[in-house]
Subunit: 398 residues, 2 copies
C-alpha cells in the first residue's frame, strides 16, 4: 500500500542529516556545556555555533535566542514572563488607573496561547480575544482599536495552524507600536518558519516562538526570541544557562539538530515553497472539483504553501480521516494537540462555521517529501470515500 | 593520553542501547502521538509503555508520571504549581491567619529549587532555608520545627549534588505529615535515582523529580511524579498532552530512551552500587592518604556510592581542575550549573566551610564506565599536581 503522509503541520520526520549531526552528541561528545574542562568547552562552542545559525535565520543577535523544550514552552514563557514583568508588583497585580493589566490575542490562536491567556485571566489579568473574519485573517485595525491604556502585550500568530492563513504581522506590529510603543508584541511563528520570512525586524516583533519538529528537527526543541530590553521575567529558574534566561541543562543534541535543520531550510526554502504551492493548488483544485459541496477554509490567497483545510458537508472529518488511514493516507481534522476531544475546532468556529460544518473539516499539510503522485493518489481515493460516507449517513444531507 | 571522566554527576554519556532504542523514532516512527491515524497511535502506545516502565521504577501509577524537558522544569513546575494551588486566590496571595503562605527548603538544595523559591519570595511567599550540619545531612526534627500553620510545601533533596550525602527522606516525610498532613512534600531525586531506592511510597513523597541525563539517557528529558490528589496546578498550558498536566508535543525519542535507560538501571543498579562504592572508597582513602590537608566534604557513611567531594587546603579547585584536564581527567569543583561564577559553592558554605576552603573543593563523581585503573591513574596524577600548585602559591599556607 502507498504511504502518503500529509500531516506535516502536526509534525515532520527528522531529516537524516539532522540525525547524523546529533549522533556524536549522545555518546562521545556527551559533556555538559557548563563544565569547565575541555570536553565541556567543546560542547559549549558547538551550542554557541548553533545559536548563531538560528539567530541569523531570524536576523537577531545570539543573545536574543533562547533554546527551549518546545514552542509551547516558548509561548508560555513569553506571555507569562511579560505578564509578570509588566503586570505584577510582588504578590499583587499592578493596576493601571485602577484596572488590571490587559492582553490582546485572537480567538483562533493555538491552545498554547489561548490556555496561557485563560490561566492569566484566572490570576486577574484581562484578556481580549479578537474575532476573526471568514477569511481567517486578523485585521490590523481591529488590533489597534482593542489597545487601551492597560494593554501590556499583544500575541497574534503568524500562520494559523489549522487553516494556514497568514496574518499581516508587520502591519499589525506597526499599528500596535504606533498606538503605544510600550506594548510588547509576540508572535507564534511555528507554522510560518518553514516557508515564510522570519526576520524579526521586518516582522517588527519583540518576541517570537519556533518549534523544531515542524521544520524537520525533533520534537522536544523550541526557540524563544526575546528582543534586547524587552520587559520580561524568565519563567524557569535554576542554573545560569541560556544567558540566565532559561535554566536547565541544555538539550545539546537537539540544539545541534535544530541548527542543522535550519541550515537545510535556508538552502531550499524558496524552491520548496514554490514546489509545495503547486502541489497544494493541485490538491485544492482537485478536491473542490471532485468532491461536491466541499469548501476551502480561509483565504485562498494569503496562505502558507503547505496547508489546505476543507469543510466537507455531510460527513464527519474523523470518519474520513480513519478511512483515509486505511488507504495509507495520513491527514488530520485539525490540530493534533486538540485531537481526542469531541469539541468542534475553535479555529473553524471562530471563522463563523457552524459546529456541524466544523466537524466535517479535514486538514492536509504537505512537506518536503510530498510528490505529485501523492496528490494524484489522494484525489483518486478521497472522492469515493466521501461518497460512501454520505451514502451511509442516516441524514443524507447532501 | 588516558581519558578518565569523573563528572557523572554533571552528566552521563547516553548508553548505546538507549541511542539504538531512540533511533527509529526520529525517522520512520516520527508521528505525533496525539494523531488519530495508525502512525500516531503506534507512537502513543510506545509512549504509554515507557510511562509504565518509569511508573514501575517509582512504584507509582502511570497517570502520576509526567514527562518534562528536564529536572529543572520538573522542580519549577512542582514548587510553583503547589504555590499556585495552595497559596493563591485569583490575583492575590491566599493569606493564612493574615500571614503569607510558607515554604520550607534547605540551604544546600540545587539552584533549581533555591532560585524558584527566591522567585516565589519576590511574589510574596515566605520561605525558610533550613541550615545544614557539617555532615551535610538535614535533620527531620529541624524540618518538623520549621512547620507552621502557613506551611504549604516542604522541598528537600534526596542526595546533595555536590557532596553526595543522602537525606533521610522517609524520616522527614513522616515527621512532616505527622505535624500537618496537608503539607505537600517534594523531593529532588536527581542524584539518587542511579543508586538508591526511589519508590515513592517508601520515601513518603507527594512529588519527585528525576533527570534523564544523570542516568545515561539524554539531556532534555525529565520526570515529574505527582501523587494523585496532590493540590497542584500545571504550569505549562496548551494542548491536552500528559493527562492535561504538561502541554507540548511529547519528546517521543527521549521518552523511549529514558525508559530504556531505566530498564538498564534496574538490571544492574545493585551490583553497580557495590562496584562504585568500592572504587569510591579506594579514591577517598587514596586522596586522604596521599594529599596532605585534604578532607572529605560531608558524612563518610550516609553517602551515595558515586560522589566524593574534597576540600584541599591551599589550592584553588579550578586550578586543580584545569591541570587534571591536561592529564585527561575530567572532574568539577561543584555543580556544573553554577560553574562560570566566582561565588564559592553555596553547598559548601552551608556546611560551614569558609569561602577560601570552599574554593579549594573538587568533586569526583563516578559512573558505570569507571574502572579501578581510572582510580589508580587519578591517585598517581593528583598528588603531584596539588604539591606543584601549593609550591606556586605565593601564600604558601601549607
Amino acid at each position: 500500500m502507498r504511504f502518503v503522509y500529509l500531516d506535516y503541520a502536526a509534525t515532520t520526520p527528522v531529516e537524516p542529516e539532522v540525525v547524523e549531526a546529533m549522533r556524536p552528541y549522545f555518546t562521545e561528545k556527551f559533556g555538559n556545556p557548563s563544565s569547565v574542562y575541555t570536553l565541556g568547552q567543546e560542547i559549549r562552542a558547538a551550542v554557541d555555533q548553533s545559536r548563531r545559525v538560528v539567530a541569523d535565520f531570524l536576523g537577531a543577535k545570539s543573545k536574543e535566542i533562547l533554546f527551549t523544550s518546545c514552542a509551547t514552552e516558548s509561548i508560555n514563557s513569553a506571555i507569562k514572563g511579560v505578564a509578570e514583568a509588566k503586570g505584577r508588583e510582588g504578590g499583587r497585580l499592578k493596576l493601571i488607573n485602577g484596572q488590571p493589566p490587559h492582553i490582546i490575542t485572537s480567538a483562533f490562536e493555538h491552545h498554547a496561547v489561548l490556555h496561557t491567556c485563560q490561566h492569566l485571566q484566572r490570576l486577574g489579568f484581562e484578556v481580549t480575544y479578537l474575532p476573526v473574519n471568514s477569511d481567517g485573517i486578523i485585521k490590523a485595525c481591529d488590533v489597534e482599536s482593542a489597545i487601551k491604556e492597560q494593554t501590556i502585550l499583544v500575541a497574534i500568530m503568524y500562520v494559523n495552524n489549522e487553516i494556514g492563513t497568514i496574518q499581516p504581522i508587520s502591519e499589525i506590529s506597526k499599528a500596535v507600536k504606533e498606538k503605544n510603543k510600550n506594548v510588547v508584541f509576540f508572535t507564534d511563528a511555528v507554522q510560518g518558519a518553514g516557508y515564510l520570512d522570519c526576520q524579526v525586524d521586518s516582522l517588527g516583533v519583540d518576541m517570537l516562538a519556533l518549534a523544531g519538529h515542524k521544520i524537520y528537527a525533533p520534537k522536544g526543541i523550541g526557540v524563544l526570541y526575546v528582543r534586547s530590553r524587552t520587559p520580561w521575567i524568565p519563567q524557569q529558574d535554576g542554573g545560569g544557562q541560556e544567558y540566565r534566561s532559561r535554566a536547565g541543562t541544555e538539550n545539546v543534541p537537539y540544539i545541534i539538530g535544530l541548527a542543522k535543520a535550519v541550515e537545510l531550510l535556508k538552502k531550499d526554502q524558496e524552491e520548496l515553497g514554490k514546489k509545495i504551492t503547486q502541489l497544494r493548488d493541485k490538491l485544492v483544485d482537485g478536491v473542490l472539483r471532485n468532491v461536491p459541496n466541499s469548501h476551502l477554509n480561509g483565504s485562498r490567497e494569503n496562505r502558507v504553501p503547505n496547508i489546505a483545510s476543507f469543510s466537507i458537508e455531510g460527513v464527519e472529518g474523523e470518519s474520513v480521516l480513519l478511512m483515509l488511514d486505511r488507504q495509507g493516507i495520513y491527514v488530520s481534522t485539525g490540530s493534533a494537540c486538540s485531537s481526542g476531544t469531541l469539541e468542534p475546532s475553535h479555529v473553524l468556529t471562530a471563522l463563523g462555521l457552524s459546529p456541524e460544518t466544523a466537524h466535517g473539516s479535514l486538514r492536509f499539510s504537505l512537506g518536503r517529501h510530498t510528490s505529485p503522485e501523492d496528490m494524484d493518489y489522494v484525489l483518486e481515493v478521497l472522492p469515493p470515500i466521501i461518497q460512501r460516507l454520505r451514502e451511509m449517513s442516516p441524514t443524507k444531507q447532501i
